[in-house]
Symmetry: C2
Amino acid sequence: MPLFPQSVEELTDHFAKLPGIGRKGAVRLVFHLLEQEACDVRAFADAMVAAREKTVFCRECQNISDEPVCPICRDPERDGSLLCVVAEPRDVAAVERCREYNGRYHILHGVISPTRRKSPDDIRLKELLKRVERGGFQEVILATNPDTDGDTTALYIARLLRPFGAKVTRLAYGLPMGGHVEYADELTILRALDGRREV
Amino acid sequence: MPLFPQSVEELTDHFAKLPGIGRKGAVRLVFHLLEQEACDVRAFADAMVAAREKTVFCRECQNISDEPVCPICRDPERDGSLLCVVAEPRDVAAVERCREYNGRYHILHGVISPTRRKSPDDIRLKELLKRVERGGFQEVILATNPDTDGDTTALYIARLLRPFGAKVTRLAYGLPMGGHVEYADELTILRALDGRREV
């Protein structure tokens, strides 16, 4: 005898498949939803279908977009000689928040990772190569995460892009602003030392 | 200029309202869904609506059910003189897993909590009182969590049920099985000492 109604078990299965939720978390979310108004739950379900069906990947930068070319790629004020390569769409949001960068983006949708079996073919590298090949970029900034997979991916891309003549750079490593030397891990300190600058 | 399409922002808002998810977590889940097949996302959305619309609260025990009276309440093999009071439907699953208890349940859907502004009227206490009033229970086991709110609720219910004559008990406190005395917090040890038994 199942403990919960079939429909509840099925919804729990769907939630449990989401990354970082797990079975117990899924049960918690499902029971939260069951206590909400039916119209709110229907609105949530509709939003889910709408988001999936209305969005496409921008054919330039591969960011999620509701038009074939996204607003950033369409924006004529943006510096077309600068390209910032990031792993995920949410990384674009992080870079945009600093209100300093005014170039274009390219979203890889993942990083190369031998441990998680992600090969160069599993991320949007071909699209990046095509864009750089077309020319026009003076600098390509590799803004993948400062971890093993992010570094591997950056190194791999740097080597691929070398023949095209654009300058290829990587975000600086070091202590995060507001951080404490006392609490920084060894690798961060090592890299902060490595990249030290005269003041 | 919003960074993500409107439909993506809206879905993120829905996810961010779920307990324990937060804005960043919501963005993560949304982007995961956007990478799934459209038919899978539609199945998820359908399951959400189905679970909410097909389930009701059992009119006896208040557990979530797809029929007016849930399978446990309908089961004639269950001991009708025993009632276990829990805070949430998932607690029923936990008690059932131990395959020892064969009585009925009552689900409060919450606990009394001054800090979270949950009063006795916000949980299904009236329904509990009505059931106990009807008579037939020889023992009511209070199985709310062993924390401040759970204890408060158990104490409150114990006082309410006293006039009805049924024995009112509380789950034992103590060291969890497989736990280490070394790592147990003071309160647990205090309560384990308090409840010590001759061997």
